[in-house]
Point group: C2
Chain length 116, copies 2
């Protein structure tokens, strides 16, 4: 599936960090169903509006959410690209769980060769 190494950027840091919170993963789930306002995202949680707003900002800074202001509402939508990158990072290790260990070791050695 994915075979190349994903760069270790701060964006990758922020994406995994954003995903490390269950509330935010719930928001991603909700956003995958379509655009929502910040209020829509706050409602299913039991947090204050302000807290939900902060979570949205975390997702935004990770590049996973786009916001568009319409009247008094802020409408959020999912930007899948960072999710895809995180998935690629993990995909690099797919060989680890789908092939035998010594086979993986060989694959990694080849990568070392390439990077010389």
């Amino acid at each position: 599936m994915f075979n190349h190494m994903v760069e270790e950027t701060e964006e990758v840091d922020r994406v995994f960090q954003a995903l490390s919170n269950r509330t935010r993963r719930g928001m991603v789930r909700q956003l995958a169903g379509g655009e929502c306002t910040v209020g829509d995202l706050a409602r299913p949680t039991r947090m204050s509006f302000a807290a939900a707003s902060k979570h949205v900002q975390v997702l935004e800074r990770a590049g996973m959410v786009n916001r568009r202001v319409e009247g008094r509402q802020h409408i959020c939508s999912l930007r899948p690209e960072p999710l895809r990158e995180a998935s690629e990072w993990l995909g690099y290790y797919e060989k680890f769980w789908s092939e035998s260990l010594d086979r993986l070791a060989r694959v990694l050695e080849e990568d070392m060769e390439e990077s010389k």
Copy 2:
């Protein structure tokens, strides 16, 4: 590829949280090449031994690393299962970036139906 929803457990929290740090991702990368001691993992970083030890513990608590004590060395190996789970979580959204948006919405609606 992956189609089912991954449960939102604390383990998922811990795995993403563990992956949100670049040093730890480096350790995962190194461990994918084969077993190493804690010292081996500390060496490429410029941190103290104690710091590296803490990172290994984070990976352990996330279920991503196994440890076996041999003499004075602690030998670590990668446990791919949690990586796989994280990958599945992300895989659920693969449809998001590989299909059109309205098509995804329909898929999600089907999921809603199923869960009734």
